[in-house]
Amino acid sequence: ALLPMANVAMIDYTLEFLTATGVEETFVFCCWKSAEIKEHLQKSKWCRHTSPNTVRFVTSDLYRSLGDVLRDVDAKSLVRSDFILVTGDVVSNFNITKALEEHKLRRKMEKNVSVMTMIFKESSPGHHARCKEDDIVVAMDSATNRVLHYQRTQGLKRFRFPMSLFQNSIENVEVRHDLLDCHISICSPQVAELFTDNFDYQTRDDFVRGLLVNEEVLGNQIHMHVTTEEYGAHICNLLMYEAVCSDIIRRWVYPLTPEMNFSDDKNQSYTHSKHNIYRGVDISLGQGSVLEENVLVGQGTVIGSNCSITNSVIGQNCRIGDKVILEGAFLWDGVHIADNVEICHSVICDEAEVKEKVKLKPRCVLSSQVVVGPGITLAEGTVISLHPPDEEEEDDDQFSDDSGVNKEESKVKLKGYNKKDVGSEGRGYLWKADDKNEEDEEEQRQSLWGPAMHSEEESESDSDLSMGSEEPDSRSASPQLDDIKVFQNEVLGTLQRGEEENISCDNLVLEINSLKYAYNIGLKEMMQVLSKVILEFPLQQLDANLDSQNYFSALLPLLKNWTPLFKNYIKRASDHLNALFAIEEFFLEHDSLCTSIAKVLMTFYQLEILEEDVILNWFSLRDTSDKGKQLRKNQRLQKFIQWLEEAEEESSDGDQD
């Protein structure tokens, strides 16, 4: 957060943005380099007593992620009302009052249902300020601005959306890919509590996904606010750094422009000239040198003759030699550049030195106090730092901590610098990520510069992550048919076990009931499934190609055993009908067993599972399919029905008597 963007530390931008929108109290959570951050902020204007925004520090070495910080917030009860959650590297000129009012209104109207409002900025997909790692696809309800689905899109060529998204009662669902995540969120106090409850939420992403998945259970919603006119961006890698720096210089973040000098530092006053050239105080430009466009030159810098500088940021007190070409270069304070150097899209940190005739290809990084020797060309993407590569590197950060180097050098034998890497007078080592973990290495390397905008590399490691996140979505929202199938299998399993282990019917009933609730199956479907399963049971136990006789003899004992089961579920007339339909369906499927339909029905009748009225009813149903009619023409069936009718008459006669 102390990295200079256009010579002003990033955290200053964040604090300026917060102060400008009227925030009055800010908590800064730091874990790494907290002493330096604290010192910087205390010297700055925000800690003076005239500042409208009071800044408080909370530091701890245990913070490993956003989740930890929020859990700490909850534990210490630092905030009681709605708060704005921002990472320390957000640059924005957003006026948050409107979004805040909407948020408060929503919470008042619906009694704390809306937990968080995320702020997005509209921008088309190719824009250079859209970080590729951070790219998202959002589905939202356009009427209430509620977020329905949120997905990272890095590396994915296709997106999946769960059907439930479109099936519920919301009328207008918009799927948007043109949003840039500003990483500014208005959160309610429940957010901190939710983080404490769910210990594995580490980042804001986890939180959003977790909330959306558990939405029905907990009733929490996330809303969003989209802005078209104001600027907001979050610096997560060096590509973004470059993009946002150039946006600042080209005045997209007005009024936070370099010549405004909002950090009130005497060294930082610039004058703004044509073509976005910002010149600090006391600089000297050699003869023939041209500051072409979009250049920021810090105070006290000396630039030699015949240089050509474009799209660059130069820090304070730099010395640049003659005939230097700087294009998209970001030089921090105190850099020395000798003659005839060409630097292209690179970052050169404090006090580094580049000797003569060096060419730095795009995306190089030279860390602090590194010296790159004369006459060499550094390939694309080289990172040179003073940390020797074999050391166990504790910090994941790409910019090494120089105080650490001195301590470590005394421990380790001083290694010679590799001349091939840094040239004959160079000082520094080629920085490679640890080779231990292949996956991490890819991620880290990508996190330095972010996935390149032009190349078509796919990042496989991250696509695994996204695949994983898709599955819970698809399972929770799968269509009803799948559930029934699963249920059916489960019931079959239960019955099988029941038969093998002679489990009593009560237990079976219990099991089937619980399965019914687990899979959310309705009674009707359950009946159908149950009948189907039982009728299919003998088929599965024995050979599929069974003729009727054997089938029936196999089925009979089963039916006898499981009579209580049936009786439990078949209680009302509609249940009977459902069972009959299921039986019909089954026999339609298995034509070969048609002959035994009468016997089956007979059995059912005798076991008093099905009543005659219903059977007659079913038989005389007019609107059955052709196949159904054919079934009914079955001889045996007709005989059975006749017998039934006679039996009925007999019993009714018997009653009358």
Binding site: E122, S124, H127, A243, R251, W252, Y254, N276
Partner: protein, 298 residues
């Protein structure tokens, strides 16, 4: 009072450095300094006239005059406060003063053109509309389109108003009788720093020999000369010109959105301010009434 002046001067420098295009801040600081000098001078026994250094003789003989401000005078403070109050009253009344002159300049059935939104011009036209009937054409002044607001307000007063785009200024100019504009700053040579689009308007007016009248109160007069091209400019976010949503192309192009225009003094006919009408060539004399030469560079 020397200390007071130093204090005011440092504060003034800080404020003008913060936003160089807001010259009014610096102007007021200079006025206050002048007030202090005057009051001090009066108490010190000098007459007002001699301070003006009008005659050539005085200019030659009184070279190297540096007043010693260190003698304290108890009534100085009260006098200064009183003078500042007078200044405040004058500032509040500027718009009305200007509006009062409206009837002399606007005649019936005239077509008047203006650009953007200026409160002074609005008051000017409203005052004239009470007695005369005329038409107004407003150039909308992209990209901020403040002309729209101006047109709405004028039409509320039942003035016949037409809004048109900046591109049509030259085309319509042949039908216009007078051009009346407001400005942001008046420079020492009589030039203007006004909203962008005013230069176009002034050139078109000159071509058709239409008089260009500038309505501006005196506090906008700044003793700076336009030597450094960059001092007064203000560029804002390019959002208005080419919005952020345009996407990829934004990385490859440079978009600028200037707010102000420079209008050279040759194109202006008349300045109307709270002290009356003046030609541009006379502006430099007005400066000596308002500000002390030592204060020109704050």
């Amino acid at each position: 009072s020397g200390e007071l002046m130093d204090l005011i001067r440092t504060e003034g420098q800080r404020m003008t450095a913060a936003q160089p295009s807001e010259t009014t801040v610096g102007n007021m600081v200079r006025r206050v300094l002048k007030v202090i000098r005057e009051e001090y001078g009066r108490l010190h026994g000098r007459s007002e006239e001699s301070d003006q250094q009008e005659s050539l003789h005085k200019l030659l003989t009184s070279g190297g005059l540096s007043e010693d401000f260190s003698t304290p005078y108890p009534p100085l403070r009260a006098n200064v406060i009183e003078a500042i109050n007078e200044l405040l009253i004058e500032l509040e009344g500027t718009t009305d003063n200007i509006a009062m002159q409206a009837l002399e300049h606007i005649h019936s059935n005239e077509v008047i053109m203006t650009i953007g939104y200026s409160r002074t011009v609005e008051a000017f036209l409203k005052e004239a509309a009470r007695k005369r009937k005329f038409q107004v054409i407003v150039a909308e002044c992209a990209p901020f389109c403040q002309g729209h607001e101006m047109a709405v307000r004028l039409s509320k007063e039942n003035i016949e108003t037409t809004v048109m785009s900046d591109a049509a200024i030259f085309a319509v100019m042949s039908r216009v009788n007078k051009v009346i504009v407001g400005t942001k700053t008046i420079l020492a040579n009589g030039a203007l720093i006004a909203v962008s689009g005013t230069h176009t308007l002034a050139l078109a007016a000159k071509h058709h020999s239409t008089p260009l009248i500038v309505c501006a109160p005196m506090f906008k007069l700044s003793p700076q000369f336009p030597n450094e091209e960059d001092s007064f400019h203000k560029f804002v976010s390019p959002q208005e010109v080419l919005p952020f949503t345009e996407g990829e192309i934004l990385a490859k192009i440079n978009v600028h959105c200037p707010v102000f225009d420079y209008v050279p003094p040759e194109l202006i006919t008349l300045f109307i301010s709270n002290i009356g009408g003046n030609a541009p060539s006379y502006i430099y004399r007005l400066m000596s009434e308002l500000y002390h030469p030592d204060d020109y560079e704050l």
